[in-house]
Symmetry: C2
């Protein structure tokens, strides 16, 4: 496939399914021969943001760095899929302004479902007060006001969600 650079930015709480959707998208795009890069929040922290913590300022710095790299890659025709909690609206908006072909996908999932799943045991610890700065429990998540797309991962399957994102990419003519 031929394509220009664009970014799909998946934002949402820990455990909501951002990485799963990102990996699904990347696999689908690679199959079609696209130039695609996955920037996963956790991995990026190791390479770009070691030493940063989870204060608002540090989280925003982390997001702006991911944004900087996303901007560089998309400018040169690469598709970038970002999976990062990105809890603060201002930082997300800053990034959005800088990248012409950009869709923001809010991966939404109720705290009840996240707490019930809790694959890493983090919600339990956060609810018990043992984990500070945990987004959604002991730290804010500013819900996107006008995302390109909302995925309700507590009631949509991964395949449904991927199909929905793909339709959005087609509608925007990011993929053909």
């Amino acid at each position: 496939m031929t394509h220009e650079g664009f970014a799909v930015w998946l934002t949402g709480l820990s455990g909501a399914g951002k990485s799963t959707l990102a990996e699904g998208l990347v696999a689908h795009l690679r199959e079609q021969g696209a130039r695609v890069e996955l920037l996963d929040g956790d991995i990026v922290r190791t390479n770009l943001s070691q030493g940063l913590g989870f204060s608002r300022a540090d989280r925003d710095t982390n997001i702006r760095r991911i944004g900087f790299v996303t901007e560089l890659l998309t400018r040169h025709g690469v598709i970038v899929i970002v999976a990062a909690i990105s809890p603060y609206r201002d930082a997300r908006e800053d990034v959005k302004q800088k990248i012409p072909n950009f869709i923001e996908v809010h991966v939404d999932c109720s705290i009840e479902v996240l707490t019930a799943r809790d694959t890493k045991g983090l919600y339990k610890r956060a609810l018990a007060g043992d984990l500070g700065n945990f987004t959604g429990i002991s730290d804010p998540y500013e819900t996107p006001l006008n995302p390109s797309l909302v995925i309700h991962s507590d009631r949509e399957s991964v395949d449904e969600a991927l199909a929905k994102i793909w339709r959005e990419l087609e509608a925007r003519k990011f993929v053909r």
Copy 2:
């Protein structure tokens, strides 16, 4: 022109001419329609490394971050020109290992000439003891042992230097 991704990493003291050569290379490559990105140490510090200082650990972290971004871009076919003091051998070697098409260019200039030029007045301050961690004066510069190329900017003109780098790129078949 068609090309694969590759990196030209310009290392050397402040004022040696890294940025001038980098800008010359970028201009020449852009004229030919290449996909090229300039990563200048100072600019990158703003976007990727704010908060880092000039200790050895912080400098190495900065270099590894530039290396990470260079790796991402070159992997997707972009030419990356890096102008960064990069004083420590280990960090440069780490980066070199990760990027298949890589040339290291040592932009060498004697301290005498740098001190005489001293366009930013930094050498004067460093020599007077007013500027700590200044590479070459109050902080070490580990000369590359086996660079792809050495430019002697105290006795080669910018045009000569650019021609020399270009011949190296042709010899490696990075440009055709």
